[in-house]
């Protein structure tokens, strides 16, 4: 049976990949919430109270330093989840999760999720596979942040965001981009203007429009393709 037909609004790929019996364990506890850009779902070090499965929009997980400056370590859209390690007994969040592009998430309390995780071997297997892939993606992200030029990283970020929003117009402020890329807001302006001069994007305050998607793909680092291919591994068993 195709679960996507049973629950037409469940666009989250992890939820959609569950067998009907597994999904029926979760369904009574799931609640759909809409989140606005900038909303913080969890703070690094805090107890994990909820597990979020994005149905639309995009969430960033950030490593935050003591001085308050941070950098993105993971981007999560409808192919993933935030707080899912709660199923394995993880009590505290490893990073800060912030809504980058507003959208809906199905959420379940960490306590309920833990109970269901223990009941279903197939949910366990899916979550472990997802976790494996996440670890690989965070590794790649650490390398990318340290080794690749901010211009390539911005290209990757725009492409990843576009893939999740299905829209060429991305509502991105200086503030958000500077937090994602770990650079000053003025540096974001310089880089965005350079991409605009090459005809790849059109840039306005608070918004970036992708003009030449293929051009961005040529310009970005290998990490964009790596992340795309790796993310699919969760669903190809």
């Amino acid at each position: 049976m195709n679960l996507a037909q049973l629950i037409p609004n469940r666009r989250n790929r992890l939820l959609a990949a569950l067998q009907p019996a597994d999904f029926s364990l979760l369904a009574p506890h799931l609640k759909v919430t809409r989140f606005k850009q900038g909303a913080v779902l969890q703070e690094a070090g805090d107890p994990i109270s909820q597990v979020y499965f994005p149905e639309s929009g995009m969430i960033s997980v950030l490593a935050v330093m003591q001085g308050g400056n941070g950098i993105e370590t993971a981007t999560i859209g409808r192919e993933g989840a935030v707080g899912i390690m709660a199923g394995l007994g993880s009590r505290r969040a490893a990073g800060r999760a912030v809504i980058q592009v507003e959208g809906e998430s199905s959420q379940i309390s960490a306590l309920n999720f833990r109970t269901i995780f223990d009941q279903s071997p197939s949910i366990r297997e899916l979550i472990l596979r997802y976790n494996d892939v996440q670890m690989a993606l965070v590794q790649q992200s650490a390398g990318c942040n340290a080794l690749h030029h901010v211009e390539k990283r911005l290209c990757r970020w725009l492409l990843q965001t576009r893939d999740r929003c299905d829209n060429d117009i991305l509502p991105l402020t200086h503030e958000l981009l500077s937090e994602m890329l770990g650079v000053q807001r003025t540096t974001v302006t310089v880089v965005a203007r350079a991409l605009q001069a090459e005809g790849l994007v059109r840039y306005r305050r608070g918004q970036i429009e992708i003009i030449d998607r293929d051009g961005l793909e040529k310009k970005t680092c290998e990490c964009y393709e790596f992340v795309r291919a790796k993310s699919d591994e969760v669903f190809s068993s």
């Binding site: 308050g68 901010v150 200086h174 503030e175 003025t186 540096t187 302006t189 310089v190």
Partner: protein
């Protein structure tokens, strides 16, 4: 950190005055001159980190102007590191 932008906050513009000239037409609303100094220093550090092949930054600086295009700060790269 989330800075709150309000109509009453001053706007500052950050220009690169040498090497690769950059004229900032967007500017940023910041709480005051100290926040502008922090942004200018961070900006200089970013540029030095992003262009490692350039070894001599002695002629580079960040000029900060206000809404009236008056220069309120001049931060040489040599003072940012």
């Amino acid at each position: 950190m989330m800075a709150r932008e309000t109509a009453s906050m001053p706007r500052y513009y950050f220009h690169l005055t040498n090497g690769r000239p950059f004229h900032d037409v967007d500017g940023l609303e910041l709480s005051g001159i100290e926040a502008a100094r922090e942004e200018a220093v961070g900006f200089a550090l970013d540029i030095m980190r992003l262009e490692p092949e350039c070894r001599d930054w002695s002629s580079w600086s960040v000029a900060v102007t206000d809404r009236d295009q008056t220069t309120v700060l001049q931060i040489p790269f040599s003072e940012a590191g």
